[in-house]
Symmetry: D2
Subunit: 294 residues, 4 copies
């Protein structure tokens, strides 16, 4: 089709293509609106003659990202078709500034597809990080886990079909309502939705979901979407990496400690306000080791 709208050839190349995620999931770009230039254009409306000094789009986009002038990034939209396990959908839906049309288990019969993690990503409970995974589970334990998970999921689907009165390709009459039948299915079953959001909120989603503290499974989706964003708005993506994803945030006390060290002063006084966690993080990020006896 011909259009007078701004068009991104690199994005057109992947439109409609199903990008696989996990064992049965996918992300597919359904539609997009805007490009790097659309972000700069919206900013130029706001700052008018004030943006003359910033001659090029890249400089302007980096300025906007650096100073958290977020509204121009709202001027681009991305619409995705996503297939994802229900427990991932439950995390994802918490991002409220998005439009969603999810397949409904009240209207439709869900497919017999469920998520089984790969052996090597089945982690044990992390001892320190209460929300995360630690080392990989032993091979035999992982096999047992997968065996149970798989058998339970299959049996649940058998029961689901039985409730629905499905035999082969037919449905017997007087079966349980779909909305009640589906409640037997476990959280690793796949669902699908159309999901649409603007670039600002998409980047916020990615900042949270690419983070190492996000659950592995949703991170896999975030990575695939990040790849699409990089194609779509490469200048915004570069600025996002430099000023947000790989930026370092120092608390008031951390900044004071770093400054002390830089100026050759004893950092222990400045370090008094640090929690143990901050102490550990400062050592990791900046290599500064402040004795905890202050």
């Amino acid at each position: 089709m011909k259009t007078r709208r701004v068009t991104v050839p690199a994005m057109e190349a992947v439109m409609g293509r199903t990008m696989p995620v996990l064992d049965h999931g996918f992300v597919r770009v359904v539609d997009y609106m805007g490009d790097d230039g659309a972000v700069a254009q919206a900013a130029r409306v706001s700052y008018g003659r004030g943006t003359k000094t910033v001659s090029d789009d890249r400089g302007l986009i980096r300025y906007l990202m650096r100073h958290a002038h977020t509204t121009p990034f709202e001027m681009c939209e991305l619409k995705l078709h996503v297939k994802l396990p229900i427990f991932v959908a439950r995390q994802w839906i918490r991002h409220r500034t998005a439009s969603v049309n999810e397949i409904s288990g009240r209207y439709s019969i869900l497919d017999r597809e469920f998520y089984l993690p790969q052996h090597d990503v089945i982690g044990t409970q992390d001892e320190k990080n209460r929300q995360g995974r630690g080392a990989a589970l032993s091979a035999s334990k992982a096999s047992k886990y997968l065996g149970i998970l798989s058998r339970d999921a299959l049996k649940a689907y058998d029961h689901y079909e039985r409730f629905l009165g499905i035999k082969g390709d037919k449905t017997t009459e007087k079966a349980v309502a779909r909305e009640l039948a589906r409640i037997v299915l476990p959280l690793n079953y796949y669902t699908q939705w159309y999901w649409k959001t603007d670039l600002h909120n998409l980047l916020h989603f990615l900042a949270l979901r690419l983070d190492s503290r996000a659950q592995f499974e949703i991170r896999e989706y975030a990575k695939v979407i990040a790849g699409a964003v990089k194609r779509w708005v490469p200048l915004c993506w570069e600025a996002f990496v430099d000023y947000r994803l790989q930026a370092l945030k120092l608390s008031r006390a951390e900044a004071a400690v770093v400054k002390s060290v830089l100026e050759g002063r004893d950092p222990r006084k400045a370090a008094l306000g640090l929690s143990n966690r901050e102490r550990a993080e400062l050592k990791e990020s900046m290599g500064i080791d402040v004795p905890s006896d202050g």
Copy 2:
């Protein structure tokens, strides 16, 4: 505690009280802000001297509701603690203009509590209404359904505990991470959250979820919340019932048919634009029967 804030004695009386819903769920009022007077007060800021003619709060509130002047209703807030099955939570969360803190299966170990519907609300699939339940299932089929649902839920929890390495009160080491263990649980397990929203969005939630097309289970929650709203803001509730819940919306074509009948004209011409569904609904709501060969 003493306060200078507006206070609603009828609401204070139920604060903190656990109002049961379904077999293990509940709704509990944690906090509220504002009352009927606060809605009127905010409207008076907007309309200033213009509201002198509306002498009392009731009249003003009815005027606001009638004309969909919704912002003054946003000036009241309600915070609830809710325990609800996951499949209900998945419908509920679609109301985006609310604040939510849900128990996290990544941090916490979920309780062994799941939803089993009462015998008499286990419906068959409705033939016409694709999203709903029809007549009750036969007693024997309902028993079978409940038996399977119950056994599956119990076994899933056994597996959940096994994954987590729980034996009695202890946890064995090197167990599966909580975030992976929980995915074996089915959708009828209970979750909990704090949920806070403003009165305007709450009434919108109730309008949708008290509707006969909403799933029975979420309707049960809506009914209990409606009871609390009635205590809290009785004038808003009355106006909501009159102008929204029990209001009748006639499409352009339906209104033309009604008018024809009222004016003694043949309604068949006006009825040409009606769909079969509209024809049926018009008969039900107004008793007007227009032959479809119209």
Copy 3:
């Protein structure tokens, strides 16, 4: 440019074209995403096999509109460039679910352009409707009004330029900061913005701003945007007109009165709950005249 995105030829034809509104304002379509088919497509994801019975897009879209299934309409986006008086912008901005980049009087120097109403739309204050205009002002009074408005606006701009130290094309040094200079300008000065919203929220905007109770000036913008929407998504627009714009909402009491009349019963009992305003509106919309002595 070539694209694989859904494209609407009728919309392409007006893209970038400046559609004039009021004396100096305009609306210009900058970009759009989706079409009628995109709404139906998103609904089909949700309702899956349940939508098989609704064979065509038109029927499905009408069903969605009729039952206020609003989320599929969020799947389309429209981005506009608008030039509008500040007092109109202040009403417009109250629609919060939109993205906005407005020209900033802190960064830029505003243009010498202000709104003067046409003679025939300068109304007197309506006696009953406290928010509206009644009959046209007398010609001589209207001329006086316009003369004062115009002189004040021109003088304000002279002062604005003087504060900014502008002489001819040059700026003298040490002038008042732009952010302080602009506060001398009156509310009829024009501003500009990029405004982007989804179709659901756009239709809500139009429902409120096409209404006869909306101020004339913002209604003029709504009319022009409505024209663009009609080109863009003709099936959604038709459904919107039938089920929302020209729909008739009867309150609980009004519906009871109408039913009484239809069934040949005395409506006076049902009419007891009607306010005088409702009585008047019922007479106007349905021709039913219930004596107020009930």
Copy 4:
């Protein structure tokens, strides 16, 4: 009144008190919901047993703020009555996640009150910072500015009253509609609104509006509100100051430079990616001076 809701004595003490801002403006606390404990309580619902290790509210709140776990902060609400110049209102309203009821110039007659800045805050246009004020204007220029501003505002109000047909305390008939009369008023006139938002969004508002780049006038409001927040939720406020307001954000390149210096390496290579602006800011914040010849 007695209540079972959480109550903050320090906040009760200022409720209803008019806190002056600028020459005629004010901020008044109308209502509040929640306290520091309510934030911690909501977080404990989410993280359940995971929060046992964080024994006290202060530690938990600091953890939440540090890791941008923002939803528990949404569980508190603040409702303010604010009187503010229109140009300030136009900046303020851009914060969309809030509820607003503003006095309407269509319904009401606005008061004869306008903003005149104090002599010492009338700045010249900053040469570098295109959005800000530089040095103070000379006394004579400031006097001229104020004289013009004041005369124009008074004359505009005279015209406003004349349009409205106000003579003394009476109104002549057949005057210009209020909605058209008010457009003669300049942007320094005062308006009023009720404004309600949650603590998370309020802190975001304060982060942006306490910033030195915000316009002086809105900063004055932010300061007064900050004082109220400090009384209301002192632990949240402390965490906000430490982890947001006085935190330091280093971009990827800036962090690399700081690390180089800390580790005794030549920072010039890491500094290649820095813009001139970043170079300047790094010198100011950390005292690191990297020669721009890289």
